[in-house]
């Protein structure tokens, strides 16, 4: 095998790099140059290879991303803190994720607390009140009265709370469904529209029951043209999932319409008395909201950080 290799005709191009770098002996160098004189392709190849070497040599250095100076701590520990352990944008993103998760959980708790207070309308007052109010023509007239009326009181009160959820009409609604608690959190933070806009709409709160994007349907309501003036909440609602909060909200509206502005005007999170005590339905609501918030929080924490 070695013999075969020895007698194999050697491609002169294999010596081109060594020739360029001055690594050939005198005899080899002379032989190579003689070959170039006879073979124009070989000469061109050497030129190309030389150009390649020059291009590599011209590659600029990037600045060091940080100082690599040594410290006494490094010398004593004889171990360098890993670059991965150093504060990095990735770490900041992770912190932001955790903060967002904590915020969502806190918001969900606030919503649940609010909902728990307002659930008196859904539990103790029963659905009959909601049904009554939903079918009541008075409700429609009360809603249509515009800002400053008793019907607007709940929304206005909600808007005055410190919670970000106050910007969401859905959260301002006393009987907001627990199933939408986490969604409302997202919607509330995204919605720049104050609640009075909802009150000015004939069917104000139905859009707010939508998940996540519920913030976007709010502005159309302010203009009014997209909201049907029929008074039929289910048909007028531009968002299909309007059914979740419809009844509780109409209950609140009904409360306003029957001349009790103080009751619906409670702010979210305010200590509203619960007549019935913790019932099974409320427990289920709380558990469901907690699970939903925990799921969102877990997703935020465990997912790969943005931009990573």
């Amino acid at each position: 095998m070695a013999l075969l290799t020895r007698f194999r005709k050697r491609d002169p191009r294999e010596d081109a790099s060594a020739y360029i770098d001055g690594q050939l002996g005198a005899a080899e160098c002379a032989r190579f140059e003689a070959g170039m004189a006879k073979d124009a392709a070989l000469a061109r190849y050497v030129q190309e290879l030389r150009g390649t070497r020059q291009a590599i040599a011209a590659l600029p250095d990037a600045p060091a991303p940080r100082s690599f100076r040594l410290t006494q701590a490094m010398l004593q520990g004889q171990r360098v803190p890993s670059a991965a352990a150093a504060p990095r944008p990735l770490f900041a993103l992770r912190v932001a994720q955790v903060a967002a998760a904590v915020g969502i959980v806190g918001l969900a708790i606030a919503v649940v607390a609010d909902m728990t207070g307002g659930s008196s309308t859904t539990t103790s007052n029963t659905l009959t009140a909601a049904q009554d109010s939903a079918s009541s023509p008075v409700r429609e007239s009360a809603k249509a009265t515009g800002p400053g009326t008793g019907a607007n009181a709940p929304a206005a009160a909600g808007a005055t709370t410190a919670s970000g959820a106050a910007t969401s009409p859905a959260v301002a609604a006393p009987g907001y469904s627990a199933t939408n608690g986490a969604q409302a959190a997202g919607a509330a933070t995204a919605s720049p529209t104050p609640t009075p806009t909802a009150a000015t709409s004939p069917t104000p709160r139905a859009p707010a029951t939508g998940p996540g994007p519920a913030a976007t349907p709010v502005p159309p309501n302010t203009g009014g043209p997209t909201a049907a003036p029929t008074g039929n909440t289910s048909s007028a609602a531009p968002q299909p999932p309007a059914t979740g909060a419809e009844s509780p909200q109409t209950t609140a509206d009904a409360a306003g319409s029957i001349g009790e502005p103080a009751a619906p005007a409670r702010a979210p999170g305010s200590a509203v008395q619960d007549d019935s005590g913790p019932g099974a339905a409320r427990v289920a609501e709380i558990v469901f909201a907690g699970v939903a918030a925990a799921a969102v929080a877990a997703w935020l924490v465990l997912r790969k950080p943005w931009g990573a």
């Binding site: 770098d21 011209a58 590659l59 990037a62 690599f68 040594l70 670059a83």
Partner: protein, 202 residues
């Protein structure tokens, strides 16, 4: 100290050997870009390169007593090349290309912002050419990449690379030639960039 009268490497090494950490850190300041870039090009990963560079300086400090003179830069880069190889063993290579973009995008100096069309074209060609070449270097097998970079970019002799890597001189010759040959093909595939680069070199 008067500006422009920087102490020589030899002088700083002497102080550092006596335990003067500030003197050694002056050497770190002087060579950290070169060390980091060698690590980055060998590893293709910024985070790994940072770790390898830091380890290289730490190893160099502890090995100072064995430094017998000559080029401190070469000695340091040799340590960095070895640390990079160790780091490569420890890590899986992933996201190399994107990391490289991240690494070398920053080498664009702010003063190179073009102010007319022709200048923009030239800068664009130069940047594209450089990125293409950096990417092509990354595609080389580690041994070829190491040999080509150490010889062409860091001006090591074949014998030094052979000693550094424990390979024979013939092996080093072969690695360098094969690596350059691959890069030549890549460059020839984009003759317009190569021509633009040559214009800049003239």
């Amino acid at each position: 100290m008067e500006p422009g009268l920087e102490p020589s490497d030899e002088r700083l090494v002497l102080f550092a050997k006596d335990g003067n950490l500030d003197a050694f850190n002056s050497l770190v300041d002087r060579y950290q870009a070169a060390v980091y870039n060698l690590c980055a090009r060998l590893l293709g990963n910024r985070e790994a390169a940072e770790d390898a560079a830091q380890e290289a300086f730490l190893s160099a400090y502890h090995a100072l007593s064995r430094f017998e003179g000559g080029s401190f830069r070469s000695w340091l880069l040799r340590i960095a090349a070895n640390e990079s190889k160790d780091e490569l063993r420890r890590r899986k290579r992933k996201d190399a290309v994107s990391s490289l973009e991240e690494i070398f995008d920053r080498s664009e100096s702010p003063v190179e912002v073009p102010d007319h069309r022709e200048g923009a074209d030239i800068l664009f060609e130069r940047k594209e050419f450089r990125e293409m070449l950096e990417s092509a270097v990354q595609q080389l097998p580690f041994e070829q990449r190491q040999a080509v970079l150490l010889v062409d970019l860091y001006e090591f002799q074949y014998e030094e690379v052979a000693q550094m890597t424990g390979a024979s001189l013939g092996t080093i010759k072969s690695r360098i030639h094969r690596g350059r040959e691959r890069l030549r093909k890549v460059l020839l595939a984009r003759p317009e960039l190569l021509a633009g680069w040559r214009r800049l070199e003239e």
